[in-house]
């Protein structure tokens, strides 16, 4: 009897211990995991996605906007049709041209290989398909095929201003991120902030009112209203592309700015890319040459050197050049004019009209290397312009005190000095703006849901006196009327301009064949509406700016005269 009692006691004790051990296993050891599983059943947590802000033109129409796209996926465990049938149904909808048999066959192979992949239960079949395609697939009623929302970027003007706008790609975590141009510079502003929602739901997925509900609202990305004028932008795109073709150039840039407040009205460059399919293009096309490519400006730089000399008071417009009767020797180099024509006792105005290199050496010597360095720096050369675009480059300027005689001489006619197009147009806008510097700006306003931030123009310091600015403007007017590009001058219109043909430095010497042709000008010269820079890289019909960049400048300017209602003088 006692033994039986003992056995029963032992049995109960062991059962009790087993129970304790089992409870310990479920409550303590597995407790966290089970608790998380239970929470997962009744608590739904989700990210509230927010849309990226739009980029608008000055007239509030879209340059870039957010649209709807879908990722098509296959939940392989739910798929009932054969992979081959599904691939044949989907492939024609995934290709750009369903009539292109080869691309459809290639797409069938691709989709089939994805659907028959081993060891996966879920797979993405195609990203960024349009809503119409989604609708067609839904109508097919293929089991196991689903869709996930994806935001896409729409560019209503196609590849226009692609390098100015930048593009939206993915970061390391697979989230949308803006790269280059405005998309890159204003990425944080445009992106907004996704929200978060945690809700307790019942078995049917209906929210429980007395459950724990937490919500952090999403903040929509702000819109950017730019100074970009669609007419100006599309005119630049169209005419620059035609100009490059006409003059056989390998590329080119065109920038239009309001010299009074620095607002960028248009910016175009070729070769370019399509931001919708940026992955099909090489990385070298993503950078905007207007802000990131440097070149030796050539004769357009003469206006900066001449303006400096006029402001320093070392010359007057009618001062005579006493070394202009022939080539001038500097150190061991001989400086000649571009056409080997010489004009003894030229006035400074004539030096600009004839784009006389020897005359410019005379001017630079009058200013002196240290003073010229200070002026060039004040004009913004050798410093960032602070334009609100990602990827601005700043070519180095030779240090002060290290300019030799030949450095000073060559700098006077724009050789040995590297600039970016945006630096050049910003420097020239100082002349158009009566001597006061402005910062180039693309964005005018940042517009949020219930707020707006007006980006005011940034006026800089006075670089040259108003008198000097007027004097160099008058010289540029004469250069436009009587210089080597006079044949293309639009008679009657108030244009101040200067051509520049720069040789391209290659491996320590200048290539005689390859040039960069530029024309910079503003109109009307007494109260400018716009300043425009045209640069053509390696034109083949003629190496000279007067025969390539200048006629292109006037061809575009003619449209702007009509658009801005600029009347001829008489």
């Amino acid at each position: 009897m006692l033994t039986r009692l003992r056995l029963i006691s032992i049995f109960f004790s062991l059962t009790y211990l087993a129970l304790i051990a089992r409870l310990f296993y479920w409550q303590i050891y597995k407790g966290m995991e089970l608790s998380a599983q239970a929470r997962g059943q009744y608590q739904k947590e989700s990210t509230i996605e927010t849309s990226r802000g739009d980029i608008l033109s000055s007239g509030s129409s879209w340059l870039a906007a957010s649209g709807e796209a879908w990722m098509v996926y296959a939940a392989l465990t739910d798929v009932t049709d054969s992979p081959k049938v599904i691939a044949e149904k989907l492939a024609p909808l995934f290709v750009e041209d369903p009539d292109d048999r080869n691309s459809v066959l290639a797409e069938i192979d691709r989709v089939y290989s994805l659907l028959t992949k081993d060891g996966v239960v879920w797979i993405s079949l195609k990203s960024r398909v349009k809503s119409e395609v989604k609708k067609k697939i839904e109508e097919m009623g293929i089991k196991g095929i689903g869709f996930e929302f994806q935001e896409k970027r729409i560019y209503p003007e196609a590849s226009s201003a692609a390098q100015l706008l930048g593009f939206v790609g993915k970061d390391k975590e697979g989230k949308d991120k803006g790269y280059f141009g405005l998309e890159g510079y204003y990425d944080v502003v445009l992106s907004g902030k996704p929200g978060f929602k945690a809700q307790e739901k019942d078995a049917r997925g209906i929210p429980m009112l007395f459950g724990t509900n937490r919500e952090v609202l999403a903040i929509k990305g702000a819109n950017l209203q730019t100074h970009i004028d669609k007419f100006v932008q599309l005119t630049l795109d169209k005419e620059l592309a035609e100009g490059i073709k006409k003059y056989g150039a390998s590329g080119g840039v065109a920038v239009v700015m309001n010299p009074e407040d620095g607002s960028i009205l248009g910016m175009s460059s070729f070769p370019s890319y399509d931001a919708v399919k940026y992955w099909d293009f090489g990385d070298e096309l993503f950078t905007n040459p207007v802000i990131s490519s440097s070149f030796e400006p050539g004769s357009v730089f003469k206006i900066i050197v001449m303006a400096s000399a006029l402001d320093a008071g070392v010359i007057e417009p009618d001062s005579k050049c006493d070394i202009c009767s022939g080539p001038v020797k500097v150190d061991s180099y001989l400086i000649e004019t571009w056409n080997q024509e010489y004009f003894p006792d030229s006035s400074m105005t004539d030096v600009i009209i004839h784009s006389d290199n020897v005359g410019m050496v005379y001017v630079a010597r009058k200013v002196g290397s240290d003073a010229l360095y200070d002026y060039v720096k004040s004009f913004g050369i050798g410093g960032l312009t602070s334009i609100d675009l990602q990827g601005e480059a700043n070519p180095a300027l030779r240090e002060k005190g290290k300019w030799s005689g030949i450095d000073l001489a060559t700098a006077s006619f724009g050789q040995g000095v590297a600039v970016t197009p945006i630096q050049l147009i910003t420097a020239a806008s100082i002349i158009a703006n009566k001597g006061v510097k402005v910062t180039p700006q693309v964005v005018d306003k940042i517009i949020g849901d219930n707020w707006e931030e007006d980006i005011k123009p940034v006026k800089g310091k006075r670089v040259i006196s108003e008198k000097a600015a007027n004097q160099i403007t008058a010289m540029m007017v004469e250069a436009a009327k009587k210089g080597e590009s006079k044949w293309t001058y639009l008679r009657g219109f108030k244009v101040a301009g200067k051509t520049g043909t720069a040789q391209i430095p290659i491996e320590g010497h200048y290539d005689n064949e390859k040039t960069i042709a530029s024309f910079i000008g503003f109109a009307p010269y007494d109260d400018p509406e716009f300043i425009m820079l045209i640069t053509l890289r390696q034109p083949t019909t003629s190496p000279w700016a007067s025969e390539t960049a200048a006629p292109l400048w006037y061809s575009i300017a003619k449209d702007f005269f009509d658009y801005y209602r600029i009347q001829p003088e008489n």
Binding site: S51, S61, W62, A65, S66, G67, E68, S131, I154, P156, E157, A158, S160, D202, G205, I206, P207, M208, L209, F210, K230, F231, L234, D562, Q567, P568
Partner: protein, 106 residues
């Protein structure tokens, strides 16, 4: 012989009955209120779910309409359409000199 009856105190009986009834009523009321609120919260939850669905549908519709609006305001497309329809830029411009009287009343 006089029979003596123990007086019945109605008070005690009334009190004990009403207590049970009150308890019963209260418990029933609690049940009814609980059921009512359960149904009400469940219905409200369903309403919230419907509203969320409606919000999602409207957002989607809004996105689609905005996309249509964006693509239809393309200036380059408009220019192309105008060209296809036979429109062209008028190259003739007439400049009027300021100060000169024109369309002047007699």
């Amino acid at each position: 012989m006089t029979r003596r009856f123990k007086p019945i105190t109605n008070r005690t009986l009334r009190f004990s009955l009403s207590k049970k009834v009150v308890c019963g009523i209260l418990i029933s009321l609690c049940f009814i209120v609980q059921i009512f609120f359960t149904i009400e919260t469940s219905a409200n939850g369903a309403q919230i779910a419907n509203l969320e669905e409606e919000q999602e549908r409207l957002s989607k519709e809004n996105r689609e309409l905005e996309e249509k609006l964006v693509t239809s305001t393309s200036l380059s497309d408009l220019e192309k359409r105008a060209e296809d329809l036979g429109f062209s830029n008028d190259a003739r411009f007439y400049y009027l000199k300021k100060g000169e009287a024109f369309a002047k009343l007699p």
